[in-house]
Amino acid sequence: MTERDNIEELAAEYVIGTLPNSERAGVNERRLRDSALDAEIMRWEQRLAPLLENVTPVSPPDGLLDKIQSQVSQTTSVISLDQHRKTLAARTRPWRMATGAMTALAASLAGFLIWTGPIKPDMSPKYVAVIQEQSQSPAFLMTVDMNSHMCAIKSVISPPKPDKDYELWMVHESWKQPKSLGLIAKNDMELMPMSRDIEPDLYMNATFAVSLEPAGGSPTGVPTGPVMYAGRLVQSTP
């Protein structure tokens, strides 16, 4: 059996859904970096999709759209910032098109990116998350350098009271509980190491959240105080 047959059969079984859990999880991981497998999966999806005509539509519960929209609004400004960046890149007029609320975001982000100069001499891809309350102004700016596995976080709000600390968490759907990335420095920007075991794609699908904790951080390993801000990463350099 050739390699291509293997990929084809694997993709077929993945799409029809009968791969056992461990093999299925393996394909989910592998397709992220194996474009031949990914393309084969899409071909099978396209081949078998007409079968979906057999599925009689069922109305989802009322209120589901509201839930989705409120979840989405939390990331809206980050997403549109990313879109904005793409538009700007296409026009090669960086940061000039900002309007309205985007101006403040873009300006603070631009300032932040200038600061990152020292940690990106190689121009490796950088990712940035604007961590904020729903549709409010940004509270924290976080950049992640995938090459050095460092993250820098900058607070743009006033520091918490002396007996409190802000703690940064990473939340991913495949994890049972949030993972602490550490405390956020009160007055200065801080570089924090990120776990090397975590795949870049995991970062891109994660939500970063900030909770208010007792000084020294959560005593339990999970957020104990209110989760005040949340955001997701977008790529901010080519």
């Binding site: 059969e9 299925r24 396209q46 079968l51 599925v55 109305s59």
Partner: protein, 182 residues
């Protein structure tokens, strides 16, 4: 071949630009289909609701990745829902498929697959190719794809060893592919 649906394609293009109205229209146009797809596999309304919610958040975040020349819009969206639903049912390892009376009318039987007929070329073509499979194999393909049955579920239902189910499915899929490419 793909992108049969210019309305959904146009909506997805606007969603990729962050257009919230287009997102709402896209939801209205597609959610009952996607909810039904999840419900067929998960057989649980709450889980189906969660998966559909996650899927639309993903659609919002990744609409820019949709490539109209590779997939039809509903295929792309349904794949997101199916993949999450299947991840969910496969994770519950060892769970034997239970016939749920309340959802019986949703289960694929051969009749519904055949009564479709030539509404669209690709549907007609796939149905024709499905008819080229033996009855049991055709049922297996439909029950796996539409109802999320595992090898174990199918082995149980058809009274065959799991290895046989695996071989039959692989052969059937390759036969379908050959037929579709004719």
């Amino acid at each position: 071949m793909p992108s049969k649906d210019p309305i959904l394609s146009a909506l997805l293009a606007r969603v990729a630009q962050g257009d919230a109205d287009a997102f709402s229209d896209l939801y209205t146009a597609s959610s009952s289909k996607l909810f039904a797809v999840a419900l067929r596999i998960l057989r649980n309304r709450e889980q189906a609701e969660e998966v559909v919610q996650e899927a639309y958040v993903k659609i919002w975040n990744h609409a820019g990745d949709f490539k109209p020349d590779i997939a039809a819009p509903i295929t792309w969206m349904a794949a997101i829902v199916r993949n999450r639903s299947l991840d969910e049912v496969r994770r519950k390892a060892g769970k034997i498929f239970v016939d749920d009376g309340a959802l019986d009318n949703l289960e694929s039987d051969d009749e519904s697959a055949v009564t479709l007929l030539e509404r669209q070329d690709d549907i007609a073509k796939l149905n024709k190719c499905l008819e080229g499979l033996e009855t049991e194999k055709r049922k297996m393909v439909c029950l796996a794809y539409l109802d999320g049955m595992s090898r174990e579920d199918l082995a149980h239902k058809f009274g065959k060893p799991e290895g046989t189910v695996k071989t039959w499915l692989r052969r059937s899929l390759m036969q379908l592919k050959g037929c579709l490419e004719q």
